[in-house]
């Protein structure tokens, strides 16, 4: 087994050997159902699609994903385990990537448990299953981006609560970057080019376009780049902070 796989396996076991995993999955399933049916009117709309379900994922992830990512590194630093981990003959990138992938797999597991809602719409009507698959992929990419941000913040702070709050705030900013309320704020003092580029960094815009069923390569590349950049940042911050 390669060291990266060993890290992934250990991290996943770590999630499931504490209540975190179960609390996360149960809350995620309950809330995603509540949001889809009560706020999104999934049933009342009379349409066989899952857009009310997927539309609320960014907001669910906003406070659930930081709860997964917050202990990723801060716990290692607090317990001193980081010293053990980083004196093993393993590349730093394997550690960063392994931990990230484990968290991503974990969120994927939680997301997989939402399959009854997919079965329900198929039972009630004839939804566009290609669109649903695209939306699942979009949802996973969004969760991955949040996790990558969370990984970087978790390395920067030994305190899990601080890691949680800062991750949530940064994710919130990235989500909202495309909304008028944010752009209006920048419009007054930034040149149009920069305002446009801020707008194009919005997670929400890219997520929405995937949700429409347009699995555009640009959107996927965008999320992949966000993940890559934040994981690289994780590695850089790790070098700076590991000794503190």
């Amino acid at each position: 087994m390669s060291p990266k796989l060993a890290v992934i396996k250990r991290e996943l076991q770590g999630y499931f050997s504490t209540p975190i995993a179960y609390v996360f999955i149960v809350i995620f399933l309950i809330l995603s159902g509540v949001f889809a049916f009560y706020l999104g009117g999934l049933y009342e709309r009379g349409q066989a699609d899952l857009s009310p379900f997927f539309n609320f994922h960014p907001w669910l992830y906003l406070f659930l994903v930081p709860a997964v990512s917050m202990r990723m590194w801060s716990e290692e630093r607090r317990s001193g385990n980081i010293e053990l981990l980083m004196t093993l003959p393993v590349k730093q990138s394997d550690l960063v990537l392994g931990k990230f992938l484990a968290a991503w797999v974990f969120v994927t597991i939680a997301l997989t448990f939402t399959f009854p809602i997919w079965i329900s719409v198929n039972y009630l009507g004839n939804p566009d299953n290609g669109l649903i698959l695209a939306s699942y992929i979009g949802s996973l990419l969004l969760a991955g981006s949040f996790l990558a941000i969370g990984s970087c913040i978790s390395v920067a702070s030994k305190n899990q609560v601080i890691a949680f709050i800062i991750t949530a705030v940064i994710c919130f900013i990235f989500l909202l970057a495309g909304l008028p309320m944010v752009l209006d704020f920048f419009n007054s003092w930034l040149p149009q080019v920069l305002v446009d580029s801020i707008a194009s960094t919005s997670f929400l815009t890219h997520y929405a376009s995937i949700n429409k069923g347009v699995l555009d390569l640009g959107d996927i590349v965008y999320f992949a780049m966000v993940i890559a950049v934040w994981l690289y940042a994780t590695s850089v911050v790790l070098d700076m902070k590991k000794a503190d």
Binding site: K9, S17, G80, N81, L84, T87, P89, V90, K242, A243
Partner: protein
């Protein structure tokens, strides 16, 4: 084999390790001594590749830290201070995880883990979560993970800190038993440990080496080296006669225990003189001993001396 040349580590303005050079050979147990905050742990963290030295270089078994950090790490078994491990894992899972990270062949992992568990006596806690273990067992788990790949070099940061005397004894036995074909560095501030396990001791204060000797040589530096102590009811005038002897530097009397200590002038052997003197004066002695020297006194002298020098600068 470990070679450190002009090793320094600065944390912004603070100099934690200042131009340290030493070599530790195969078959040698090297003790790092020093007050808290002297730079022992920082030095170990640089040797094991956790911290990047500000300047200087580290070589382990001929592998340079800068050229091949992963190759270097593979040669070392490391027990960090406080023996950290994953609390929520079971002992068996933790050891298997370390074995996987150390790239031990997956067919061999189970045998390796069993071997180590036998050797370190962990079989009774094999399926227990690490968080439920006593301090002694946790430390043993830490040691087990450090030697699971049978490394050529062992770096142990305060391996016996916080253990009870029996556990300390066990850990020391283990270290001594491994010393034959390995290079071992241990850090400690327990001086009896130096006697028990080390072939050589380096005393570090304020990031600098202030002494590099065998434990016996260090003891020779003590005021108590060859000092003679006896317990007896003694007339104070006799004490003054002791002081007049040419080979005696000083005499100390402990009222409470009725103990007299005679200090010789620099390293002279005075046991015979003292016992003859006592016989002559027909003093009945309940105990008469000669000391090899006191490491704690040497330690204090050396490390405090350095403090005074620092202030003087």
């Amino acid at each position: 084999m470990i070679e450190c040349n002009n090793l320094s580590k600065h944390f912004s303005q603070f100099v934690a390790v200042d131009n340290l050079s030493f070599t530790a050979n195969k078959g040698e147990v090297l003790g790092f001594l020093g007050p808290n905050g002297a730079g022992k742990s920082t030095t170990m963290k640089m040797i094991t590749g956790f911290l990047q030295p500000t300047s200087g270089d580290v070589k382990v078994c001929g592998i340079d830290l800068f050229d091949n950090p992963i190759g270097l790490k593979a040669k070392i078994g490391y027990l960090p201070e406080g023996a950290p491990s994953y609390d929520e894992m079971r002992v068996c899972d933790f050891l298997k995880f370390i074995a996987q990270m150390r790239c031990i062949d997956s067919n061999l992992i189970d045998t390796k883990v069993d071997e180590i568990v036998d050797r370190i006596n962990l079989s009774q806690v094999y399926y227990q979560r690490i968080e439920t273990l006593s301090k002694g067992f946790k430390r043993r788990v830490g040691l087990a993970q450090a030697i699971i790949h049978d490394p050529e070099v062992l770096v142990l940061d305060e391996p016996t800190d916080g253990l009870d005397p029996n556990q300390k004894h066990d850990v020391r036995e283990l270290i001594t038993s491994m010393a034959i074909d390995k290079t071992i560095i241990i850090s400690t501030h327990i001086l009896e440990e130096v006697h028990a396990v080390c072939d050589r001791a380096i005393i570090i204060a304020d990031g600098k080496i202030v002494a590099d000797n065998t434990p016996a040589e260090l003891e020779n530096m003590s005021k108590y080296h060859n000092a003679v102590t006896f317990s007896a009811d003694i007339d104070f005038s006799l004490l003054d006669e002791f002081k007049k002897m040419s080979c005696v530097r000083d005499v100390k009397y402990n009222k409470k225990f009725k103990k007299t200590t005679i200090f010789p002038s620099q390293g002279v052997y005075i046991f015979d003189e003292v016992s003859d003197f006592l016989k002559q004066h027909k003093i009945s002695v309940t105990r008469l001993t000669m000391e090899a020297g006191r490491l704690d006194e040497v330690f204090r002298n050396i490390t405090l001396e350095n403090d005074v020098m620092e202030v003087a600068k």
